[in-house]
Amino acid sequence: MKLNVNGVERQVATEWRDESLLTVLREQLGLTGSRFSCGIGECGACLVHVDGVPTNSCLMPVAAVADKAVLTIEGLVAKDGTLHPLQQVWIDENVPQCGYCQSGQIMKALALLKENKTPTDDDINRAMSVVLCRCGTYDRIRKSIKRAALFMSREI
C-alpha cells in the first residue's frame, strides 16, 4: 500500500495496514510531529490535512487515505528550510509552552485561514475550539492567527 504524504509517495508495510494514519505516520514514516493525546478526536493534537480537510489522524484508518494527499506539520517547511508564515508568526508571538499540541494548532489554523482569510474573534473561537492546549496558549494563538491572516492575505 502506498501513501502520499507531504507530496512524497511512501510505502506502508503490510502488517501496518490495519493501523491508524497517526500510528503509521509516527512509527513507520518517522513523521512524529503529529501527536497522540486523546485517541477519540476530542483534542486535535494529531490533526493533519487529508485532501485539504483537517482530520484527526488518530481516528482515521490508514487504508482509508491510500489514494488521498496527506499534509502534516513536517510538510509546511519549504524545501529551502523557510518556515511557513504561520510557523514564523508562532515563533514571533512566542506561542508554545510545552509545545505538544502546537502541530495540531498550526494545522487547524492553516485550515481556517484557507477557508476564511479574515477571521473574526468568533470565527477563531469556533474553529480553534477543537484543538486543546492545556498550557493555555490560546490568547497567543488568537493573536498569531490574526497576524498571519494579514501576512498571508498579502501573499495570495
Binding site: R35, S37, C38, W90, C98, G99, Y138, D139
Partner: protein, 731 residues
C-alpha cells in the same frame, strides 16, 4: 573527595578536555522545598558551564523542559554574567550519566533555587577569564574591563574569550573561603543587557516544526509496543483476571503477568489496543471509590466537632465562642493534570558490556529518581542504568515517579526487545495522581470599628506531598507526624486579626493523590478571598478597599498588586446589566510570590453558561529575568483558573475513576478564553521566585467573586455550574 566525584563525571562526559569549565553546587534550598523527594547530596550536586577554545559557551541545562522555560531564564543569567548573548549559549541536556543528580523539577523552584548558583558559577568563570586576560595583556586586574564576549582595556585593547581558552582542560572550583565575585544578576543598579528582556525558548523552532522532542517521538530500532492495565488505585490487588481472549490477538508478542502487573507486548500499537481490550480484571480495593466516600472523609465540620484538627498552623489568642459575622463552608473537588502529552517511555536492555545494561527514554520531572527506581526494580546497579530525559508535553506536578517507565522496563525485560509504552488518555485519568478534594470552614468576626477581630480557619484535605504510594509505606507514618507541605500551602491569610486560629487535618482518600499546580494554594485562597469578599459586601464596604485596609500595611507587595489590578480593571468597561459582574482576589504564594487578579463575568441565561469575559493580573515575583516568560506563565495560570472555577469535574463512582477523556472532563478551550491584561511588577533587587503556579491562587476566587457581584450568588463549591446559580435563585 567531592572534587574527585565531580571530575569523574566530567571525564566520563568528555568535557574536561573541552575548555575552561566551571561547576556549581545546587545549594540546599532545593532540598528544603520538597522533603518527599530524594534530593541530590548538596555537596556532590554539580553541573557545568564551559567556554570552549572557539569561544562558544556550552551550558548543561539543569531543568526538565515542560513549557515553564526555566532553562532560558538560567541561560539569560549566564549570558548577563559573561557578557555574551543568550543566543550564543549552546544548551545541552544532560543524561543521568553525565552529571550527578539534579534536583527534581518541581514546586516552581527552578529560578529560586538555581539562579544564584548559576550566577555564581558564571561570575566565577568570568573572573577567572579576567585574571587570564590581565596576565596575557600584562595589565592589572582593575584595568581589565568587560566587553561583549571578552574584555577590553582603558586604552582600547580587546581580547575575546576564545583567545583566553587554550584547550587545556581546566576545571575551576569554588573557593568558599574567598568572597564571591560580584553578581551582575542581582545588582539593582546595573543596566542589564540579557536579564529583564523577553527571550524566546532556546528550542522554539523545533516546537513549531514538529521536530522529535518528546519521548514517544524517539525512534529505536526493532522497537515493539506495549501497555499495562492500570489499576483504579495503586494499592489495589487483582481479584480476578481473565486473559483468555488475548492469545488470539493478531500481532501479540507476549502477555506479561507478574503479580498485580498485567500487560502485553505487540508488533503494532493497534494490536496493543486489541489485546488490552481482551484482558478482564477485577480489583480488590482497600477503600470503596465513590464520591460519597470522598465527601465523608473530607467533612471539615464533622472533624471540627470532634475537637482540634490534626495540625495547628497558627494559634493566637483564639476564641471559639464569638458571634461570627462570616461562617462559611467551602468545598473544592478533585482535579487532574490532563497535560496534553499522553506520557510515554521506551526501555531497552543491552547485553553488550560497552553500553549501559538498561537505557530509558522518557519525559519526567525527575530523571534521577527514575534511574534509581529502575535499578531497584531490575536488580541492575545504578551505574548500569541511564535515563535520556526528553521534553515533557506538560507536567504540572504529575510526572515525578517511576510509572510509565516501569511499564516499559518490565515489558522490555520480558520480551528481551526494546519496548515503547504510551499511556492512553484513560490511563492518564486513571493513574495520574490527582489534586485532592478538600472542605474549608472559615469563620470571621469583626469589632465595632469593622476591623477583623477573630479569624478561625479549619480545613480537611486529602494528602498531597505525603500521599500514600508517593513514598515508601514504612516512611509515611513518621513523615505524617509533621505537616504536609502541599496541604498547608496557602493557608495563612494576609489579613490581620488579633485572635487567629488556622488548623487542618489531612486524610487518605480512596484515589491516588499528589502534587497539582499550586498544591493547596488555590483551594485555600478560594476560601479566604471568597469569605473576605462576602464580609465586605455584608458590611456594605468596597470589597477591594476593605481587604487592603485589613492587611494593616503588613504586605506592601500584595497591596501594590491589588492597587495595580484595580486600576487595570477600570480600563475595560463592564457591560451594564444584572448578569455581568466583576470580582477581585489576591494572595501570597510560598511567602515570596504576590498576585492579584480581577475577573469580569457574564452569566448568560440564553446559553446557560458562565463566561469569563476579561481578566487582569498584576504579579510580583521579584526580579523579572524573562518578562515574556513570566507573562506566559500568568496566561497559563489564568486559563487554569477558569478550568478550576467553572469546568473541571472529576467523576468517581462504582469503585472506579469515571472521567476518562476530554469528552467527559472539560478543560478550557479557545471559546472559553477571555481577553487578558497582564502586568509584571519588577523588583530588580529581589532574587526571582517561581511564577509557575502563582496566579492560579487568585483566579478562581476572582471569578467566584465576580459571579457574586453579577447575581448575588455566593459560590461555596468548585467547580461552579450554571445550574448552581439558578437552583440558588429558585430557592
Amino acid at each position: 573527595m567531592v572534587q574527585m566525584t565531580r571530575r569523574k563525571f566530567l571525564v566520563a562526559s568528555g568535557c574536561v578536555a573541552g575548555g575552561l569549565t566551571v561547576l556549581y553546587n545546587l545549594g540546599i534550598r532545593a532540598a528544603a522545598s520538597a522533603p518527599t523527594i530524594i534530593f541530590p547530596d548538596e555537596r556532590s550536586g554539580a553541573a557545568w558551564i564551559q567556554i570552549r577554545p572557539s569561544g562558544a559557551c556550552h551550558m548543561y541545562l539543569p531543568r526538565q523542559d515542560m513549557g515553564q522555560n526555566a532553562n532560558t531564564g538560567l541561560a539569560q543569567i549566564v549570558a548577563e554574567e559573561l557578557n555574551i548573548l543568550v543566543a550564543d549559549i549552546i544548551g545541552e541536556r544532560p543524561t543521568t550519566s553525565d552529571v550527578p543528580p539534579l534536583a527534581v523539577t518541581a514546586a516552581s523552584m527552578s529560578l529560586t533555587a538555581f539562579s544564584r548558583p548559576v550566577a555564581l558559577a558564571a561570575a566565577t568563570l568570568r573572573e577567572s577569564l579576567r585574571a587570564r586576560a590581565a596576565a596575557m595583556l600584562g595589565d592589572s586586574l582593575a584595568n581589565i574591563l568587560d566587553d561583549l564576549g571578552g574584555f577590553r582595556t582603558a586604552n582600547g585593547r580587546k581580547v575575546g574569550y576564545c583567545e583566553l581558552v587554550s584547550g587545556t582542560g581546566v576545571v575551576i572550583e569554588f573557593d568558599d573561603t574567598k568572597s564571591p565575585p560580584p553578581l551582575y544578576t542581582f545588582d539593582p543598579s546595573r543596566q542589564k543587557k540579557q536579564i529583564g528582556h523577553s527571550v524566546r525558548p532556546l528550542d522554539i523552532q523545533a516546537l513549531v516544526t514538529g521536530a522529535p522532542v518528546y519521548a514517544a517521538d524517539v525512534q529505536v530500532e526493532g522497537v515493539l509496543y506495549g501497555r499495562v492495565v492500570q489499576p483504579p488505585v495503586r494499592n489495589a490487588h487483582i481479584r480476578s483476571l481473565d486473559t483468555q481472549g488475548v492469545m488470539q490477538t493478531r500481532g501479540l508478542v507476549k502477555l506479561v503477568h507478574e503479580g498485580d502487573f498485567v500487560g502485553v507486548v505487540c508488533k503494532t500499537p493497534s494490536a496493543v489496543d486489541a489485546a488490552i481490550a481482551q484482558i478482564k480484571v477485577t480489583w480488590n480495593l482497600d477503600q470503596p471509590i465513590s464520591q460519597l466516600a470522598i465527601d465523608s472523609l473530607i467533612d471539615v465540620d464533622a472533624e471540627m466537632m470532634d475537637g482540634d484538627l490534626e495540625h495547628v498552623l497558627q494559634d493566637e489568642a483564639h476564641r471559639d465562642t464569638v458571634d461570627w459575622d462570616i461562617d462559611l463552608r467551602f468545598e473544592v473537588q478533585v482535579q487532574t493534570h490532563a497535560q496534553q502529552e499522553a506520557r510515554a517511555a521506551i526501555a531497552r536492555f543491552n547485553e553488550s558490556t560497552t553500553a549501559h545494561g538498561l537505557e530509558i527514554w522518557t519525559g519526567t520531572q525527575d530523571p534521577w529518581a527514575i534511574k534509581r527506581a529502575a535499578a531497584v526494580d531490575t536488580g541492575l546497579s545504578q551505574d548500569d542504568v541511564v535515563v535520556y530525559p526528553q521534553r515533557l508535553g506538560g507536567g504540572f506536578g504529575g510526572r515525578e515517579y517511576y510509572e510509565v517507565e516501569r511499564d516499559a522496563v518490565r515489558l522490555a525485560r520480558a520480551v528481551k526487545r526494546p519496548v515503547k509504552v504510551q499511556w492512553t488518555r484513560q490511563d492518564e485519568f486513571t493513574a495520574s495522581r490527582c489534586r485532592p478534594a478538600s472542605t474549608h470552614r472559615l469563620r470571621i468576626a469583626v469589632d465595632d470599628e469593622g476591623n477583623l477581630s477573630d479569624w478561625w480557619y479549619g480545613y480537611v484535605s486529602g494528602h498531597v506531598a505525603l500521599a500514600r504510594e508517593r513514598m515508601a509505606g514504612w516512611l509515611l507514618p513518621m513523615m505524617r507526624l509533621g505537616t504536609d507541605m502541599g496541604v498547608v500551602k496557602g493557608a495563612i491569610a494576609p489579613y490581620a486579626a488579633p485572635h487567629q486560629r488556622v488548623e487542618c487535618t489531612d486524610v487518605d482518600l480512596p484515589i491516588d493523590l499528589g502534587v497539582w499546580r499550586s498544591l493547596n494554594g488555590a483551594p485555600a485562597v478560594f476560601a479566604i478571598e471568597s469569605a473576605m469578599d462576602e464580609l465586605a459586601i455584608q458590611r456594605g464596604e468596597d470589597s477591594l478597599q476593605y481587604r487592603l485596609a485589613q492587611m494593616k500595611g503588613a504586605h506592601p507587595r500584595l497591596q501594590a498588586c491589588f492597587e495595580r489590578v484595580s486600576e487595570m480593571s477600570t480600563k475595560s468597561l463592564l457591560p451594564k446589566g444584572d448578569n455581568y459582574g466583576r470580582g477581585f482576589a489576591g494572595g501570597i504564594f510560598d511567602g515570596r510570590c504576590y498576585v492579584a487578579v480581577s475577573a469580569d463575568v457574564h452569566i448568560d441565561a440564553e446559553t446557560q453558561k458562565i463566561r469569563v469575559l476579561h481578566m487582569c493580573c498584576a504579579q510580583d515575583v521579584g526580579l523579572a529575568v524573562n518578562p515574556g516568560q513570566l507573562r506566559a506563565q500568568i496566561e497559563s495560570n489564568l486559563v487554569w483558573s477558569i478550568g478550576m472555577a467553572l469546568l473541571e469535574r472529576f467523576e468517581v463512582a462504582d469503585n472506579a475513576i469515571q472521567s476518562s477523556n476530554f469528552n467527559d472532563y472539560q478543560i478550557p478551550r479557545m471559546m472559553d478564553m477571555p481577553s487578558l491584561d497582564i502586568e509584571i511588577i519588577d523588583q530588580p533587587a529581589i532574587p526571582p521566585a517561581g511564577a509557575g503556579e502563582v496566579a492560579l491562587i487568585a483566579g478562581p476566587p476572582a471569578i467566584a467573586n465576580a459571579i457574586r457581584n453579577a447575581c448575588d450568588f455566593r459560590a461555596v463549591k468548585l467547580p461552579i455550574a450554571f445550574d448552581d446559580i439558578t437552583a440558588n435563585s429558585r430557592a
